[in-house]
């Protein structure tokens, strides 16, 4: 129970003492800073997470032993109809790509070598063999292909055409990502490759490869069906090293937004890659080789059902693997990107630590103002005691005061934060246009707009945190007030 005089006096004191406005201003400023800075940072991080999410399938069955075939596992996985909506085979390997038509070698004036060694410089590629028809059912392949040219066109001049390989009506051609006959014919002529005399007689036969847009950043804009040589080396099931090469054509570029994926990955028809690895699809003894199986789960799957489903799938797949195989993994999208996401999360934690210090100093402001209030109101405390105020009630005056300062500051800060976030980009643009000042350097984010993502849960955390912190710091002066000897307090000058 809070005695009626406590809130009454608390409010009167706050209203009549302007110094408390500083406490409110301090909390407001701190809350505002925490919201805006975190909104930008969260916006950035959740942008990354969103991109990582769209680049990654719901579940990925991976860590499979060598020479695992797709069909048997597919049946077992798709049998789990309560969970699984679709599956697609993936074959991960590494290879090298070399453009057939060498561009003129020019003097490069810009720093080229990077410390993060992304392997694109020399045509290294993480080859991901996919079945385009099945792939569309499990991942955003189609939207990746739309986004690729968009990302490039935003940054560089040049003709970044969008790929239409997925719209090819002929299933055989689509699964090979082949170009249209006339396009491939023109590309062959351009590169001095053997081609039919006239375009009508030409049948496209080069499998297509899809590049991540970050690779295009380095190769420069590529025309449709530009031929490449693809070289692959592997140790086969006979433990013999073999290598093979094939001529492929550039079928388009994609962007998932996942930097590491877009830099390294090259998508190509899984059959092409299997053939390069020495597996003939016409050979009945051959394996329909996969290293991973991408799984899309039903949209109505709850988080707990997903956890249970992962274990179920893992057991089902493991049962089909040769006895003694190391355990395979079924990874959700976060687990597939564990290292990358945790690096991002650590940076965010660091920023939040700094913001916490801001809040701490703001709490000091509340403490200072309340402490002074107690010191200056010693006589009032005696009066309250004399007319029957209980120690708890007297303490509550100052506790309520602190609470009010915290709450009003937090509310104002949240209001200001919401407004700032709303108008962050216009303000940043205006500042840059008029004063060449950038609050948030865009180059840092490599983005058009400053991302902003104010999560309601963060607002709640900051607001409640500010009020709690205010209560905690108010507790010390309020205890001091409640323990004061009333007789001494009355005679205080």
């Amino acid at each position: 129970m809070i005695a009626a005089f406590s809130p009454f006096l608390a409010v009167r004191y706050l209203v009549t003492r302007r110094i408390n406005l500083l406490g409110i201003a301090g909390v407001m400023f701190a809350v505002w800073a925490m919201l805006v800075v975190d909104a930008v940072f969260t916006g950035f991080v959740s942008g990354i997470r969103r991109d990582v999410r769209t680049s990654t399938t719901d579940l990925l069955v991976t860590d499979l032993p060598h020479d695992t075939g797709y069909e048997r596992l597919r049946e077992a996985i798709e049998a789990d109809t309560g969970l699984v909506a679709a599956t697609a085979p993936r074959l991960r390997h590494h290879g090298m790509l070399q453009r057939v038509r060498q561009p003129q070698r020019r003097v490069r004036t810009q720093g080229s070598s990077q410390v993060d060694f992304d392997h694109t410089e020399n045509g290294f590629a993480l080859l991901v063999g996919i079945d385009p028809v099945r792939e569309e059912a499990v991942s955003g392949l189609r939207s990746w292909l739309v986004r690729g040219p968009e990302e490039l066109a935003q940054r560089y001049p040049g003709d970044f055409w969008s790929s239409t390989v997925l719209d090819e009506p002929d299933l055989e051609r689509r699964s090979q990502l082949r170009a249209k006959d006339e396009v491939e014919w023109a590309a062959r002529r351009r590169s001095n490759l053997p081609a039919a005399k006239n375009v009508q007689q030409h049948r496209a036969d080069m499998p297509g490869v899809l590049f991540g847009w970050q690779r295009i950043r380095r190769t420069g804009a590529l025309p449709e069906a530009e031929p490449f040589d693809l070289l692959v080396a592997a140790v086969g099931s006979d433990n013999q090293l073999r290598s093979d090469s094939d001529r492929v054509q550039f079928a388009g570029c994609f962007a998932t937004g996942h930097r590491m994926f877009d830099e390294n990955a090259v998508l190509l028809p899984i059959e092409t890659l299997r053939t390069l690895l020495g597996l003939d699809s016409f050979d009945p003894a051959s394996v329909d080789l996969v290293t991973d199986i991408a799984v899309r789960v039903r949209r109505d799957t709850s988080a707990s059902a997903l956890v249970a489903g992962k274990q179920r799938l893992q057991r089902a797949v493991q049962a089909l693997l040769p006895p003694g195989s190391p355990p395979c993994s079924v990874l959700d999208w976060e687990e597939q990107n564990l290292v990358f996401l945790s690096a991002v999360a650590h940076e965010q934690a660091m920023m939040q630590f700094v913001l916490f210090v801001v809040m701490l100093v703001a709490a000091f402001v509340i403490y200072a103002t309340l402490h002074m209030m107690v010191v200056q109101k010693v006589k009032d405390i005696g009066i309250m005691a004399a007319i029957g105020g209980s120690p708890a009630g007297i303490g509550a005056v100052f506790l309520v005061g602190g609470f009010t300062v915290g709450a009003v500051g937090a509310l104002l800060g949240i209001g200001a934060g919401l407004l700032s976030v709303q108008y962050l980009n216009p303000v940043n643009d205006w500042l840059f246009a008029n004063f060449q000042v950038e609050l948030f350097p865009r180059t840092l984010f490599d983005l058009r707009e400053i991302p902003c993502d104010l999560e309601p849960s963060w607002i709640a955390k900051v607001g409640i945190g500010a009020v709690l912190l205010a209560l905690v710091v108010a507790f010390v002066p309020s205890r001091k007030a409640s323990r004061m000897n009333p007789v001494q307090a009355l005679s205080h000058e």
Binding site: G26, F29, V52, T62, R92, H94, T109, V115, L231, V339
Partner: protein
């Protein structure tokens, strides 16, 4: 004199002023510690980059460059201490009879890509390389177990059983279970011209023996690079052209004037490689070569600085609050002091002195504790992790042994100056109010 005396008395009798001091201290501390951490991180990254890449690198050399003409042209420069030729290539190192797992998923493997199967091949002359980089120390690193060490660390790339050898990063050696003497097969490709003048990639396979492990401070470098003798690459990839060179690593006498040296070397290079009025080849200091990457770390530090200044603003609020309250309380003293013979404006300076003492002590304590914390940051990190389980700076993500930290005196000065300026402004505000106060009012005791 009485001003400072009174100022200090006022401060000592009012512990709440310590809070204003604490705010300044905290903000100065945070500005120093966090920025030092990032500067340290930047310095570590720079050092790793620098060590792995020599002071100046001459790259993108045209095919007609001859080492015997290029080397003297470069060595002519007064600031060039040593040069070493390099050939660069790429490939896979596979162990016959062992099937490696597929390349890791992007985002699940190491961020620097050091666990990918691809490798950069650096063809070097071990003796000359040791003159320009820390190569000699890399093969002798104390962390390399004896059984993984090259047989002869003085000549680590010496042939073994008549087979050329390769130096591999320690982590990769351990991950793949390789031992010195193991046979590996280097698989790569080179472009070969056919009869029609078309260039085609052609497979190249070179049997090698593992020489041993090397270790630099940067596992990203170790994971991605292997060293072979330059003659091996010349033989298998460049038709035994003994003069062929693609990159030259340069060590300078004076590392502070690298940019000027690079300019001079660029002119010298032009004289050697110029053909048809076109110049070829690029000279870059290690900093230029990695400008983009280093820039991103610098940007992060800049962003953090903005956020940290917010702390100082809140600390200013705090000081303003405590000083205003003191002025409110002590404003009656102005009358007394005036009566005792002080001038009213002189008396108000007492309050300014209070604010400046608070600021000064706050800055001093903050700077000292900031420096101490920064120096013992690793111990602090371990203590925090032990007490709360929170890892403030994941050293293992960045492959560092301890939390890096570099204290920049200029930044210390900036922080102190900024804090003093802030302290002055927030002290001046209540003092202005006190100055406007009529001393007689307080004497009348209203």
């Amino acid at each position: 004199m009485y001003r400072l005396f009174l100022a200090i008395r006022y401060l000592l009798t009012r512990p709440i002023n310590l809070l204003g001091m604490a705010g300044i201290t905290l903000s100065v501390w945070a500005l120093i510690v966090v920025v030092s951490l990032f500067s340290g991180f930047l310095a570590v990254v720079e050092r790793h980059v620098h060590e792995a890449g020599a002071d100046i690198v001459v790259s993108a050399l045209p095919a007609w460059t001859r080492w015997s003409t290029l080397a003297p042209a470069l060595a002519d420069d007064p600031n060039v201490a040593a040069t070493a030729p390099r050939l660069l290539h790429y490939g896979l190192l596979l162990r016959p009879g062992h099937r490696p797992p597929p390349a890791p998923l992007p985002g699940r493997g190491a961020l620097h890509g050091g666990d990918q199967p691809f490798l950069f091949l650096m063809g070097i002359d071990a003796a000359q390389e040791a003159q320009v980089t820390g190569f000699a120390a890399w093969v002798r690193d104390a962390e390399i177990p004896a059984e993984l060490r090259a047989a002869d660390v003085a000549a680590p790339l010496a042939m073994r059983d008549g087979v050329p050898t390769v130096l591999i990063g320690l982590e990769r050696m351990q991950r793949e279970g390789l031992r010195p003497g193991d046979a590996v097969l280097l698989t790569t490709a080179r472009l070969v011209e056919d009869e029609a003048g078309q260039k085609h990639p052609s497979k190249v396979q070179v049997p090698l023996r593992v020489a041993g492990a090397y270790k630099t401070a940067h596992s990203g470098f170790d994971g991605n690079n292997v060293f072979v003798d330059i003659a091996v690459l010349r033989q298998h990839l460049h038709d035994n052209r003994t003069e062929f060179v693609q990159e030259v690593a340069v060590r300078a006498h004076d590392a502070t004037t690298l940019a000027d040296t690079a300019d001079r070397l660029q002119r010298a290079l032009t004289r050697v490689t110029e053909r048809n009025n076109t110049s070829y080849g690029v000279v870059q200091t290690w900093r230029e070569k990695n400008a983009q990457f280093l820039g991103s770390v610098q940007h992060q530090r800049g962003l953090l600085k903005i956020v940290l200044v917010v702390i100082m603003v809140v600390a200013a609020f705090l000081m303003l609050a405590t000083l205003s309250m003191m002025v409110t309380e002590k404003i009656s003293d102005i009358g007394i002091l005036t009566a005792m013979g002080g001038t009213p404006t002189g008396v108000t300076m007492v309050f300014l002195a209070c604010g400046l003492v608070i600021t000064f002590v706050g800055v001093l304590v903050g700077t000292v504790t900031g420096i101490v914390t920064a120096v013992y940051l690793e111990e602090v990190r371990q203590a925090v992790r032990w007490a709360t389980g929170i890892d403030l700076f994941p050293v293992d993500v960045y492959n560092l042994a301890r939390v890096p930290c570099t204290i920049d005196p200029l930044w210390l000065l900036q922080v102190a100056g900024m804090a003093m300026a802030t302290g002055f402004v927030v002290s001046a505000l209540p003092v202005l109010r006190a100055a406007r106060h009529d001393p007689l009012v307080s004497l009348r005791g209203i």
